[in-house]
Subunit: 194 residues, 4 copies
C-alpha cells in the first residue's frame, strides 16, 4: 500500500485530521515554525496544541528531539493521537490538562509554543523562567488585542526581548477564470527570547 | 572553532551574506518554501536566485536532491557562492544567465521557484511544460500587479491549477517599551501545479 | 415625526436599505468618495451603482450637482430609489442598463465611479475620453486581479495618470470583553486623471 | 487671483502645509472623519491636532459648528494657523497645551478625536464622561499596541461601546509602466460611544 505524499515540511491544512477544533492556518504555522529556530534535537513544549498540527511539524523537524503537546480539550487529544499515527510520528507526548499545571515533570525545554493560554500567561512565563533552557525561544500566536498586550507586558517584566510580526493573508478564489482575493483574520506572532 | 547556530530551517535574514541584491524577507521565504512541498530528494530550479537565500533553505531541506540557482547579476552569483560556503551547502549549482536560456541541459526538475522573471514568463512556463516532472510544483513571488497578472494568465493557458496568497506583514519596533507596528510591502505568492 | 439621524457624510452601512445586492463597505466608500475630489456642483456618473450607497453620499456632497446612477439589475434600481427616498435625495437619476450603452445622452461629467464593469472597461474608458470634462477624475474599485489589470492597462494606453490604494481592513468582534480582529476582503481603489 | 482647487472633503495630504510634524494619511483621515458622524453644527475637540489636517476637514464639514484644536508642540500650533488661513477656515480654536488641562473652559462637546494622548488617556476619558454631550462620539487613532490596549480597557471601565477598524494600506509606485505596491504602517481606528 502506498503512503500518502508528505513534504519535508509545510504540510497543507487539508492533510491534517481535524474535528471542530480550530487549526492554525498553514502560512501562520510555517512562520511560527521558522521563528522557533528548531534543531534536530530540540525539546519542545506546545501549549494549546489543538489538532496537533504544529506539534506534528515540530516533531518531524526535531526528529531526534521531542514535543510535549499540552491540550485541555478531549477532542484535541484524540486528534493529536490520530495525526501522530497518520504522519508516523512517535516523538510527541500528548498531555491533557491546563497550563502550567500540566507541565509537571517536564524539564529542559528548548522551545515553547503558545497557541492558547486561557488567561494564565503570567504563570506560564513564570514556569518558563525556571524551566526553559539557555538560548530558549518562545513563540506565541494571538488573535486578540488583550491577550497580545498581556503577553508582551509579561515579557517586558521578565526582561525578554521580543518581536511581533502581524500577518495578514488574502487567498485567491477563482471563479470562471477570474481571481478574487479573500481576506483572512490577521494573526500576531510574537517571538521572545532572553 | 565553533560553528554558528543554524536552525533546521527558517534561517533569519540577518544570517545571510547580503550585498545590495534585494532579498526575500524571511516570512515570505518560509511560506514560499512550504508551498513548494519539498522532499529530501527534490530537484529544484530557483529562477532569479538573488542572494541565494531560498536556494540555501531548499538545499538544506532537499539534502539528497539539488538546486539549480539561476541568477543574471554578477554580485548575486558571488553571494550565492559565499552563502553556500557559510551554510556548508554543496548541493547548489549556481548558473549565471537569463531564463530560460540558462536552463540549457537541466532536466527532471521537481520544483521551480520564480523570484524574478524579467518579462519572459511565457517562455519559462513553456520550458516548464516540457521539463517539469509529473506532480511538479511552481511557486512564484510577485510585488507588481502586471507580472502577477501575466503569470496567472499564462497559467490559465497551460491549464495549470493555481492559488494566490497575498501576504501583508507588519513588524514591531519597540521604543521605550512602546510597540509600534511598521508595515512592509505586500507580496503575492502563487503556487501552481498541473 | 422625527427624522433619523444623518451625518454630513459617512453614512454607516446599516442605515442603507439593502437587498441581496452587494454593497461597498463604509470605509471603502469614504476613501472612494475622498479620491473623487467632489465639489458642490459636480456632475457624477456612478457605473454599477448597486444599492446606491455611493450615489447617495455623492448626491449629498454635490448638493447642487447631480448623480447618474447606472445599474443593470432590477433590484438595484429599486434599492437606489428607496434609498433616495430614505435620505431625502432628489439629485440622483437612476438609469437601468449596461455601460456604456446606458450612458446615452449623458454629457459634461466631472467624476466617474466604476464599481462594476462586467468586462467592458475599454469601452467605458473610450466614452470617458470623449465625455469626461477637463480635470475629470475616475475612481474605480476592484476585488479581482484581472479586472484591476485590464483597467490599469487601459489607463496606460489612454495616457491617464493613476494611483492604486489597496485597502485591507480588519474589524473587531468583542466577546466577553475580549477583542478579536476579523479580516475583510482587500479592495483595490484606483484613482485616474488626465 | 484664482483660489486653489478645494474638494468638498477629502483634501489630499500634499495640500496641507506641513512641517516635520507627523500627519495622518488621507485615507486614515477620511475614515476617522466618517466614524465621527459629524453634523453641520457639531462642536468638536481634536486632541493632538498635529498639523491640523483633521481639524480643517472637520471645520469644513461642521461649518456652523466649531473645532477646538489641542496641540502641545509650538510648530503644530503654527501649522494649524497657517492651514486655517490656507483653507479659509475660521471656526477652529487652536489651543496650546496638554490634554486634559488644556480643555479648561471647553463645554458641550459633541465629538472628540484622539490622535495623540501622551499617556493620559484615563484622564481624558474622565473629562469626556463629564463634558461630552449625549450621543457623543469619540474616535481615536493608534499605531502602538500599548496605547490601543489602554484605551479600550478604559472604554470598558466607562461602559462605552466600541469598535476597532485596523486599516492596512498599500500604495502604488509606478516605474516604467510597472506598478509596485508599497506597504504603509497599519493604523487602529477606534470609535467609541455611550
Amino acid at each position: 500500500m502506498s503512503e500518502p505524499f508528505r513534504p519535508s515540511f509545510g504540510i497543507p491544512d487539508e492533510q491534517f485530521i481535524r474535528g471542530k477544533v480550530p487549526m492554525t492556518k498553514e502560512e501562520i504555522r510555517v512562520i511560527t515554525l521558522s521563528k522557533l529556530q528548531l534543531q534536530e534535537d530540540s525539546v519542545i513544549l506546545d501549549v494549546g496544541a489543538g489538532t496537533g498540527s504544529i506539534s506534528i511539524e515540530c516533531a518531524l523537524i526535531a526528529r531526534r528531539g521531542k514535543v510535549y503537546a499540552i491540550e485541555v480539550v478531549d477532542e484535541g487529544i484524540e486528534l493529536i493521537k490520530k495525526n501522530m499515527e497518520k504522519f508516523c510520528v512517535d516523538n510527541i507526548i500528548p498531555i491533557q490538562g491546563m497550563a502550567p499545571k500540566a507541565f509537571e515533570g517536564i524539564r529542559n525545554v528548548d522551545r515553547m509554543i503558545i497557541g492558547g493560554s486561557r488567561g494564565n500567561i503570567a504563570e506560564i512565563l513564570q514556569w518558563a523562567e525556571e524551566n526553559l533552557n539557555d538560548n530558549g525561544v518562545i513563540v506565541a500566536n494571538f488573535i486578540t488585542i488583550e491577550n497580545l498586550y498581556v503577553f508582551i507586558e509579561a515579557l517586558k517584566q521578565k526582561k525578554y526581548k521580543y518581536e511581533i510580526t502581524q500577518v495578514t493573508l488574502a487567498k485567491s478564489k477563482v471563479i470562471n477564470d477570474i481571481t478574487m482575493m479573500q481576506g483572512l483574520n490577521p494573526v500576531f506572532i510574537v517571538k521572545a527570547s532572553v
